[in-house]
């Protein structure tokens, strides 16, 4: 078991899958000569050459569309968005083409593309550079949405995403790239649609993904001191959700807190809550509490940025609420 940073785990996944399959290539801004804006693609150009590791102009719509056509003709593109904020200019190619192609062609053209890059708020990058896109991409049929919270998951999930024959939106997080943890050796996959219990507990289920799981872990440690045993559930795949795993946990704890970095209204958390209420109404001892970004664009000022994002304190507070400790 090696200890590596998230960016290195992702890099290994790319390298292994590109080695395994000649049809896999990666394109995006600064992925080649610059070794990636966040160094996730470091060394890939040297290893695979410019045919398969491709720097693009700032044309997200253009190169996303190109990836769709390449996929229709049998290639397996990995599209890196320098940040998912920039996928907004490519939205039509992802929603109208990538996610619809197999269906509207009556099953003729499948689209094996991984759309990946950092999602959510970077440090102090303000209103236009802090969007969480998970609920938007999860809303439409035809795309899987994945978001890892640790290096081990990141590698196994990205490898599974690259081998998937359908479009996958793979959401990373800038502040997580430096997260350093053990990962299994060699080749392993984490199947799409399978969540994971990151910490077992009895009193409350905290559902969180990506960077929010890091906060949830800290919250669980604090709650421990208060005698509250929190179970931490990482769906890992946001769509399709691993409802069996969620059900199992909720039936045990009867209380749920959902934490997402993104916005509240119709967030993925709203869907998780709705699904839990519908399927486990009688198991819930309290209404579900949701922790999410406050209802405003991301401000630049340090104090406002801190106040708008979910925090350990907010998670702890939400747990107290659902366990009636407040």
């Amino acid at each position: 078991m090696a200890v590596v940073e998230m960016r290195e785990a992702l890099n290994q996944a790319l390298k292994e899958e590109m080695t395994r399959d000649e049809k896999v290539f990666i394109l995006g801004e600064e992925v080649a000569e610059y070794n990636g804006a966040y160094k996730v693609t470091k060394g890939l150009l040297d290893h695979f050459g410019p045919k398969r590791v491709i720097d693009t102009p700032i044309s997200e719509s253009g190169f996303t569309g190109l990836a769709v056509g390449a996929a229709m003709m049998g290639l397996r593109p990995v599209v890196e968005y320098m940040s998912f904020n920039f996928s907004l200019v490519a939205m039509d190619q992802i929603i109208s083409n990538a996610s619809k192609m197999l269906y509207m062609s009556g099953g003729l053209y499948h689209i094996p593309i991984v759309f990946r890059g950092p999602n959510g708020a970077g440090p102090r990058v303000s209103s236009q550079h802090s969007h969480n896109m998970e609920s938007v991409y999860a809303h439409f049929p035809g795309i899987h949405v994945l978001s890892p919270s640790c290096p081990a998951d990141a590698k196994g999930m990205l490898k599974a995403a690259i081998r998937c024959n359908d479009p996958v939106v793979f959401l990373e997080n800038e502040l997580n790239y430096g997260l350093k943890e053990e990962i299994p050796d060699g080749d392993y996959l984490i199947p799409i649609g399978k969540g994971d219990i990151k910490r077992a507990g009895n009193d409350v289920t905290i559902i969180a993904w990506s960077r929010m799981m890091t906060l949830a872990k800290q919250a669980a440690a604090e709650l421990e001191k208060e005698g509250i045993s929190a179970e931490l559930l990482d769906p890992r795949t946001l769509k399709p959700l691993d409802m069996p795993l969620i059900a199992e946990s909720v039936k045990k704890t009867n209380r749920v807190v959902i934490v997402e970095e993104g916005h509240f209204f119709s967030g993925v958390g709203a869907q998780i809550a709705d699904s839990i209420y519908t399927q486990m109404f009688d198991y819930l001892d309290a209404p579900i509490a949701r922790v999410a970004q406050s209802e405003n664009p991301m401000p630049y000022a340090a104090n406002l940025e801190a106040a708008t994002l979910p925090s350990v304190a907010k998670i702890v507070q939400a747990v107290r609420q659902v366990t009636y400790r407040s």
Binding site: F25, K51, T56, P57, S59, S61, G62, F63, T64, G65, L66, A67, V68, G69, A70, A71, M72, M73, G74, L75, D92, Q93, S96, N97, M101, L102, Y103, M104, S105, G106, G107, L108, Y109, H110, P112, P141, G142, H144, C164, N165, D166, P191, I192, G193, K194, T237, P240, L241, D242, M243, P244
Partner: protein, 334 residues
């Protein structure tokens, strides 16, 4: 290329000219039949007719090799048929039947044919550019010497995807042929009200590629010019921009009354009708007499009627297909 001489067009061997004439007839009759069926409510949604533009698709795709890819807008029936797509499967698609080329799921705007690398049938204006340059990219990746034929309307010139795709293709030497089917209107908007400089070929220079203007109503000119363009793009891997001046006889779609243009304007174009012109050429060359022509037309009409009957008799998709083909792989609890 505008200087292509009419004499040269005579250099087309009889068999080729007759074959292209047949294809234009197949398209014309298929579209006429689909309009009839639409009025009978057997077809719904949007129906965009290719009638008037037959020479563009037929003359161009004569140069398509098996490994080449083709993509276009929702105005896709003509190209599908020019490629050799089955009228039965095409008509069945319009009727929303499971025997359709997209199993009845795509409809009029989304024809596909994998054997011909026909990548659709795209409903979003400018949405097809990416698929086209992606296929060209794949050709370089696999070194299979293919080219991509990207058809689009004059209205699509105003979309950012036109610019991004042209820049990428020119930058990376992607063998994509950008063919603007300029029928002079985007719905009810004359291209002079939508495009700052309607000399489409002049837009090529900004990307450092060649631009060519073609009379899209003249099958001979289309065929001859596209022979050069296709050959050059295949050889040099440089993309090309082609301005095809053509015209649609019907409204934008069947729901369009076409009040924005005069009957005289439409009639003037019908005088230059590509099918009319070619049949005259065939006669004047003594290549096809009146009777032979009549018989051919009768044969093709029967062929299209067979497609209509096939579509009529075909079943709708079974209900279990509703949630099938959303994904190729089954994952998780999905």
């Amino acid at each position: 290329m505008a200087g292509v001489k009419k004499e040269q067009t005579r250099s087309l061997p009889r068999e080729k000219l007759v074959a292209m004439y047949e294809k234009m007839l197949v398209i014309r009759y298929f579209e006429e039949a689909s309009i009839k069926a639409y009025q009978q409510k057997k077809i719904a949604g949007f129906l965009h007719s290719y009638i008037g533009q037959e020479a563009v698709g037929v003359g161009t795709l004569e140069h398509k090799l098996p490994q080449d890819a083709v993509v276009t807008s929702y105005r896709c029936h003509g190209l599908y048929l020019a490629l050799g797509g089955s009228p039965r499967e095409g008509m069945a698609e319009l009727f929303g039947k499971v025997t359709g080329c997209a199993r009845g799921k795509g409809g009029s705007m989304h024809f596909f044919s994998q054997p011909h690398n026909f990548l659709g049938g795209h409903g979003i204006v400018g949405g097809q550019f990416g698929a086209g340059i992606g296929a060209a990219f794949k050709s370089n990746y696999d070194e299979d010497n293919a080219v991509s034929f990207i058809f689009f309307g004059d209205g699509a010139l105003a979309q950012g995807s036109f610019h991004e795709s042209l820049n990428l293709a020119a930058l990376w030497d992607l063998p994509a042929i950008f063919i603007c089917e300029d029928n002079q209107y985007g719905m009810g908007t004359a291209n002079t009200r939508a495009i700052a400089n309607t000399d489409v070929a002049s837009k090529a220079e900004g990307y450092g590629i060649k631009g060519t203007t073609v009379n899209g109503m003249d099958l001979f000119e289309v065929h001859e010019t596209m022979r050069h363009v296709a050959h050059e793009t295949r050889a040099t891997r440089r993309p090309a921009l082609v301005h095809m001046k053509t015209y649609r006889y019907f409204g934008h779609s069947l729901s369009d009354a076409g009040l924005y243009r005069s009957k005289d304007e439409v009639d003037a174009y019908k005088q230059k009708d590509p099918i009319l012109t070619v049949s005259q050429e065939l006669r004047e060359n003594g290549w096809m007499g009146e009777d032979e022509n009549k018989n051919l037309q009768k044969k093709i009409r029967a062929h299209i009627q067979d497609a209509v009957d096939f579509a009529d008799e075909s079943p709708e998709p079974p209900l279990e297909e509703l949630t099938q083909q959303v994904f190729r792989d089954s994952v998780g609890s999905d």
